[in-house]
Symmetry: C2
DNA sequence: TGACAAATTAACCACGAGGTACATAAGTGA
DNA sequence: TCACTTATGTACCTCGTGGTTAATTTGTCA
């Protein structure tokens, strides 16, 4: 089946199966695109099947039903983004630099993961029903908060951060701007033109977001002039 | 029919009255709820019809098809929110107070219009296809930018606002926080607990948003300590 | 090898949901 | 009152879509 690289063939021991992993991956990849593009009810299983290298039957074989497929897609995309975030290490940066770095990284990771954004939008339309069902998603979110908590602690200790700085609020502020930047691009640029969505516009907004976040928690922060 | 408070509503089967406007309003009200809750493909015309005081036939009679109904719903909810925003007059406030007021009003109007939020989310899933088709929506968005432009101009003239303050960027910053606050409540509180979504949490976040916005454009702004 | 299970295919099905045909009651004006 | 338009209800149709049945191939290991 349309495997990318068949490491499964040279695989050792209990690998007597044909190529289940590649098939599952293939299905999830296509399904991610379709669900992100069309939503849960909007996506079409026949269409997904047609685009995969396998058949509709296999979707049901591995994922049970449409909702099961969606659930897997959601967990997979969450995991992927959080892994990226987790790879970033800021513990050796001084607090303000660390915060700047985390904010920039969040902004960038949102820009680079439109599928994640769209699936989270869709989840919110569904009142987070499938996120709630998930066993793994809640665990993924701890890391980012812990990182921010560490920065806050160090920042308060050295006096560069305000005493009321709060990791959860910081995450909310960073996320809100970063998320909206991608999620509402379509309506925003339709309504107000795309000047904030050019390459230069995005660079400026990224800087603005950093300034907003730092301005909220850094003692006496003065944002540099933006071009 | 009898959308609001008609007394003869149980006898409509045998002797109904003509009431096109009320019927249309009734359909739009129900359809707004359904589309906001389920999305375009998720909403069910039969279900909408069942919930109205009229029949499915009338939906097609007045709105053509499902997409036509959705388009009307979208325009109606946009108009409603923008009218509310337009009612706010800040031209007699000094620039910083005006900006604070506008930010608070945006935050509040988003909280108070969850249907609008959800429909805009849905629109973004559809790449703003129906907003683009609309004749009226683009016109509605001018007002808010003009208000912010006026504040910026006055603020720069008196020296309280930074020279790089920009009305469009200000609107983006205010909207992003206000929108995300509502749009992502479900996933955020599922992942991180609902401490920011209690009555006190929301009051605090509202203040944070104001501080972020003011901090970005007010010369030497020092946010007050947040409890 | 042959039994047995896992993986996979192709044809098929039920039904829900979008949309329509048609009849008819409610108003309007002469 | 009667013709005519607008508004409304009932019953109906069609087809797309989620999901399944049953048979077939592929691979493991005794």
């Amino acid at each position: 089946m349309g495997g990318s690289c068949d490491e499964a063939s040279q695989n050792r021991k209990t690998s007597w199966k044909k190529n289940p992993e590649a098939v599952k991956e293939n299905i999830l990849t296509i399904a991610t695109e379709e669900f992100a593009a069309q939503g849960l009810s909007g996506a079409n299983i026949n269409e997904i099947a047609k685009r995969t290298a396998t058949s509709k039957r296999m979707i049901y074989y591995y994922f049970g039903d449409k909702e099961g497929l969606y659930q897997h897609v959601l967990e997979r995309v969450y995991s992927s983004l959080r892994e990226t975030e987790q790879a970033l290490n800021v513990s050796d940066l001084e607090p303000v630099a660390a915060l700047r770095r985390l904010t920039e990284a969040t902004f960038d990771s949102h820009v680079n993961n439109p599928h994640f954004i769209r699936l989270v939008m869709i989840e919110n339309i569904h009142n987070a029903e499938y996120v709630k069902k998930s066993e793994i998603i809640p665990k993924l979110n701890k890391a980012i908060i812990e990182k921010l908590a560490d920065v806050c602690e160090r920042g308060k200790a050295s006096g560069v951060l305000r005493e009321d700085a709060d990791p959860l609020e910081l995450h909310w502020m960073t996320s809100s701007a970063s998320f909206y930047n991608v999620s509402n691009m379509a309506t925003f640029s339709t309504s107000f033109g795309n000047s904030l969505y050019t390459k230069e516009g995005q660079k400026r907004m990224r800087q603005r977001v950093v300034d907003m976040v730092l301005g909220a928690v850094v003692v006496g922060y003065q944002p540099p002039p933006v071009s």
